[in-house]
């Protein structure tokens, strides 16, 4: 096994539990569906889950077939993950700041 295969095996191995955990998150959000809040949670978990699942599949393709195109797609998935997580984290921070300022603004 050369370093390339070793790198992809490690990447695949550590991505799988995250995919499973986010998949469970989507499933639990669907089961306990209550309203708009759950829709946001489903969109959040669903988006991350889809990106990481595609990343995991592309890594498998790259490892088994030595496919450079799959590796390129995997790097695209990495950047989509960062963009998605970044935007979502920013929204969470804005919501938290808004929630803290809200009582002061109301009084």
């Amino acid at each position: 096994m050369d370093f390339y295969e070793h790198m992809l095996s490690r990447a695949r191995g550590w991505t799988l539990p995250v995919v499973i955990l986010f998949g469970l998150g989507v499933l639990m959000s669907i089961i306990g569906f209550q309203g708009v809040e759950n829709l946001i949670a489903i969109a959040f978990y669903g988006g991350i889950f889809a990106v990481l699942l595609i990343y995991w599949l592309q890594l498998g393709k790259a490892k088994n077939n030595d496919d450079m195109e799959a590796l390129e797609k995997a790097t695209a998935m990495q950047s989509i993950y960062f963009i998605l997580m970044g935007i979502l984290s920013m929204l969470v921070v804005v919501a938290m700041v808004f929630a803290m300022l809200m009582p002061a603004m109301m009084s």
Binding site: D2, F3, Y4, M7, L8, R10, A11, W14, T15, P17, V18, L21, N65, D66, D67, M68, E69, L71, E72, T75, A76, Q78, S79, I80, Y81, F82, I83, M85, G86, I87, S89, M90, V93
Partner: protein, 172 residues
């Protein structure tokens, strides 16, 4: 071996050859796209860790500087021996949680930063080593996210189990 008189054929094969480099133009572009957000997430994670350090110091202050009587005044009632020890155990458990969670979050922030740094170096050098480092940073990130989620679930289950015990002990 093919004949030298044979016409050259274009290959649609995208398979990596053993001596091929891992770097392609598209890969560099793709990795570069996530750089800003990786840096942003790194800074955000460091801020999160700073808040955890503040919470840690506050809990330590509560444990050592605030006496049981003062706390009883805050809660609004006399503290029994049992309830004060339950609160102390709860605070120590929270401290342990903060240390573990804070450390993992710190490693997480470092992995985000590492990805951003090697992504910037890749744009300049176009070196295969930087692609490998970006992949390793992303893998490390996946590892810490898995650990973070598992710790969060374990903490949630522990809190769910401990809450009735806290309420029954008359602490709150």
């Amino acid at each position: 071996m093919s004949s030298i008189y044979e016409s050259p054929q274009a290959s649609g094969n995208t398979r990596r050859q053993r001596d091929d480099t891992l770097v392609t133009e598209k890969m560099i572009r793709n990795i570069g796209r996530g750089r800003f957000w990786a840096r942003f997430l790194s800074v955000l994670s460091y801020i999160f860790v700073a808040f955890m350090v503040i919470a840690f110091i506050a809990i330590l202050f509560f444990l050592f500087a605030v006496s049981s009587e003062e706390f009883a005044k805050q809660v609004g009632g006399p503290l029994t021996d049992l309830s004060s020890s339950v609160i102390t155990i709860g605070a120590i458990a929270y401290l342990v949680f903060l240390v573990v969670f804070g450390y993992i979050s710190f490693l997480n922030a470092k992995a985000y930063g590492r990805y951003a740094r090697y992504s910037a170096e890749l744009s300049a050098s176009q070196d295969q080593e930087d692609v490998v480092e970006c992949f390793n940073a992303f893998t490390a990130l996946m590892k810490y996210i898995t650990i973070t989620i598992i710790i969060s679930i374990a903490a949630g289950v522990l809190i769910a189990i401990a809450t009735p015990f806290f309420i029954n002990s008359g602490s709150f």
